[in-house]
Amino acid sequence: MPKFKLPARSPRVDMTPMVDLFSLLLTFFMLTSTFRQADVTEVKIPNSISEKQAPDKNIMTIYIDTASRVYFNIDNGPDSSTHYRADIINEVGKYYNMKFSDKEVTDFKKGGAIGMPIKNLPKFLDSETSKDEKKILQSGMPIDSADNRPPDLWFWVNSSRKINSKCEVEIKGDAGADYKVVKKVLDILQVNKIDKFNLTTTVVKETVSSKDIKD
């Protein structure tokens, strides 16, 4: 038998098609991705059958966790020409006779939920405050009125409504959160003439037919 000798191949593999494919995938992901925002607190979302999608713009989100802490977040508006967050923080500052520097405003504009009394806001936005300190500052937004003033959350909701009247409300509550706290939040919202709420839920299918009805 004659021996066949395979021609010696170069060990180099042509990567070009792979690179092509990867570029395609990369472009796809870059264009379609909306970044998942890190949640400010751990919230175990309750279940429901509703399949309504949460709006992704013009939305203020209120987090309520099991430790009865309340956090507030608001988006920047439908496109980059709107600077709702900057306007809102200035509006809130007006109530407290506080003036935020340009740097603080740009820091706030970047996003993220906040949960602290308004008087702690400058310290939170200060770049010299360390991350750990910031975490400690995020101890929840006051929802009880003090010193004959409405609660801090009221100022945020009110200012947000003034700046962006199309704003809807999404409530991300933990299933184990105390309803009393939720009720207080709802009351604050209703005082600001918001009667429609979106409660974030996880979809769990339930099928019920009239055959299930027993007399």
């Binding site: 690179v19 990369l26 309750p46 309520i64 974030t200 019920v208």
Partner: protein, 226 residues
């Protein structure tokens, strides 16, 4: 291909200087592939594909003018659910209009055989109507009806309903937010046309404390709300 073909040069000149043989311009793509892998992984992990879902609730506005005729609701249609701490739930029919003869609180639970059974039994007519309508749509595949029209039709069925229950959801102290969501979800499952989340009134508080077998706390006697 990444290899660039070399042009066949050197024809004509026989005694020209021999240039060193050019290697094909191989570009090593491996680092590029590495980087792209990394970037793709990053984008894949940070992308939020499934958008969160929400349940919509509308609470009665606080500024409605108190019109006594409008707020009158037929007693027979009212079903009250009283939520207590530790996932307890009680219900009774009608209203407490005679404090001397209070209704009895029946215990129930959040399961299929609890709240849902009660609600479905009371809401039989409307539930069947909506079910029939949904069935008609799924059978009629030739003519696709837009979702808006379906929603509107179901809304109409709900608002025309004048036999189904009017459910009042009342939460006592110590109720978890999840309980409320469960119950409101139950309203959606059973296609209840009318329901509201309201505060407990005083006689109900008494009844609840009796049903739970705990003494009435002092502060609740003062009336926390208003």
């Amino acid at each position: 291909m990444a290899e660039i073909m070399e042009a066949d040069s050197g024809h004509g000149k026989k005694k020209g200087k021999r240039r060193p043989k050019k290697h094909p311009a191989h570009i090593d793509m491996t680092p590029m592939v590495d980087l792209m892998c990394l970037l793709i992984t990053f984008f894949m992990l940070t992308t939020a594909f499934s958008k969160p879902k929400v349940m919509e609730i509308v609470l009665p506005s606080k500024e409605t003018t108190k019109d006594p005729d409008k707020t009158k609701i037929p007693k027979s249609r009212v079903v009250n659910f009283i939520l207590g701490p530790n996932n307890k739930i009680f219900w009774y029919n009608g209203l407490i209009d005679d404090p001397k003869h209070p209704p009895t609180l029946e215990p129930t639970d959040y399961s299929k055989d609890g709240v849902r059974k009660i609600l479905l039994r009371r809401n039989k007519d409307l539930f069947k109507k909506i079910e029939e309508y949904n069935l008609k749509i799924t059978k009629n595949t030739s003519n696709v009806i837009p979702k808006d029209t379906i929603d509107k039709r179901i809304k109409k069925l709900k608002s025309d309903d004048n036999l189904g229950p009017i459910v009042l959801i009342k939460a006592a102290d110590g109720v978890k937010y999840g309980n409320i969501v469960d119950l409101v979800d139950e309203m959606a499952i059973c296609n209840i046309a009318r329901y509201a989340i309201v505060d407990l009134n005083k006689p109900e508080k008494k009844l609840l404390h009796a049903a739970l077998g705990i003494p009435e706390p002092e502060e609740s006697k003062k009336g926390k709300h208003k």
